[in-house]
């Protein structure tokens, strides 16, 4: 369960490249390749800076025209999917 005070980071074995607005993510340990949409790309870009999930939500809130509750619900669910897929993980602080 993702909480807004958590800090997330890209997994060490995950490599990422922005290709024409889509994200190509490789989980090298598992040999898996994923394609992320524009939001996924932006999330990974924002996670390059160490910030809590709330900061990430603030940044996305400023960039996309969507009401905050919907944004939080969708982004938290999406982050959980990325955690489950082994793309991102909780950062040790």
């Amino acid at each position: 369960m993702i909480a807004t005070d958590m800090i997330l980071k890209r997994c060490v074995d995950t490599r990422y490249r922005n290709i024409g607005g889509e994200g190509v993510v490789v989980r090298q340990t598992a040999g898996e390749v994923l394609v992320l949409n524009e939001i996924g790309v932006r999330v990974l870009e924002l996670l390059e800076a160490t910030m809590p999930v709330s900061g990430l939500l603030d940044a996305l809130d400023a960039e996309y025209e969507i009401d905050r509750p919907t944004l939080e619900r969708d982004v938290l669910a999406y982050l959980q999917e990325l955690v489950d897929a082994g793309v991102i993980e909780h950062a040790a602080v």
């Binding site: 490599r15 490249r17 290709i19 889509e22 490789v26 090298q28 040999g31 390749v33 394609v35």
Partner: protein, 308 residues
């Protein structure tokens, strides 16, 4: 899971350097794709099997030049390996550093070291000769993949069909239809370089393809043709009832290409260069998706270039 723990009795004892007890003092030199690969340390029986496997690709024995790639074959103790019948030959662990790549699989250990020239070593136990030979061939393929990559090219899991002086490359995972489309193309009078594995070279004249001459049904000696050809286009294959050509979005194109670059695509120290190279590739030739049926209609579609 730690490196090798599924395959080795004592994973920590993986050889730290390319050394060990050779099987014998036989060598076999093989000329492939502009390079010379030298199996060293073979027993007489192993050398005969290698010569038989590679046929005319074997070269007269001379002193290996510094540019040759040495493949040293060493003995391993049978009880070094965990015997697990669920392990297939293609299942393996790998580990990477900037200067070395290590693999462990069922009854083999191997490593590639850059010193700075590429040197490789393979350890196998006393096992069935045909199984040993299969490991030798697989390891040569791995070595070539890295050698070609360091030269700026790619070993690419694909079928290459030649017509009118140019090549169309068909790719996709096993079962996508590379062999099927090769046979269909062959039956239509087109030449097939290789239906399984080809080398892509980046040149000023464009992307060029040459076959890896010891793999694939149509790629091996006696089937398929030789030569180096400019690549006209590349197609990710899908099977379906009606021929359809689709444009691939850049990220999807890159992912589909990535899936057909063996070994190197899992190497974190080469991933960025690989992605750069695949991006460059996608700017130099069209990368499309082709759905095809088991008939010759796809060829007219390719020539028309009509995409949905």
């Amino acid at each position: 899971m730690n490196f090798g723990e599924n395959f080795l009795t004592y994973p920590d004892l993986f050889p730290a350097r390319p050394s060990g007890e050779p099987w014998g003092d036989e060598r076999v030199m093989i000329g492939l794709a502009g390079d010379i690969y030298v199996y060293e340390g073979l027993s007489t029986v192993q050398a005969d099997a290698v010569r038989q496997r590679f046929g005319k690709l074997c070269l007269p024995l001379v002193e290996a030049s510094p540019m040759s790639v040495r493949i040293q074959i060493f003995r391993a103790a049978a009880d070094d390996f965990v015997e697990n019948r669920e392990h297939s030959r293609v299942a393996y662990n790998q580990s990477h550093t900037p200067d070395a790549v290590k693999f462990i699989g069922r009854r083999f250990m191997c490593r590639l070291d850059w010193m700075p020239e590429l040197r490789t070593a393979l350890w196998v136990p006393e096992i069935d000769l045909q199984y040993q030979l299969a490991i030798f061939v697989q390891f040569l393929q791995t070595t070539i993949a890295y050698r070609v990559f360091e030269q700026g090219g790619l070993l690419f899991h694909s079928a290459a069909v030649v017509s009118d002086g140019g090549a169309d490359i068909f790719f996709g995972p096993s079962g996508a239809g590379k062999s099927t489309i090769s046979r269909l193309s062959f039956a239509m009078g087109h030449a097939v370089l290789n239906d399984d594995m080809n080398i892509l070279r980046f040149t000023e004249a464009g992307i060029m393809v040459e076959k890896l001459p010891f793999t694939g049904f149509l790629g091996q000696e006696g089937g398929g043709m030789a030569g180096i050809y400019p690549v006209r286009a590349m197609y990710r294959l899908y099977k379906g009832p009606t021929p359809v050509l689709h444009v691939l979005q850049p990220a999807t194109a890159l992912v589909t290409l990535l899936g057909c670059v063996h070994y190197v695509s899992c190497d974190p120290y080469r991933w960025d260069r690989l992605i750069d190279r695949l991006q460059k590739l996608s700017t130099m030739v069209p990368i499309q998706a082709l759905t095809f049926a088991r008939d010759d209609r796809f060829w007219a579609l390719l020539r028309s270039g009509e995409t949905e």
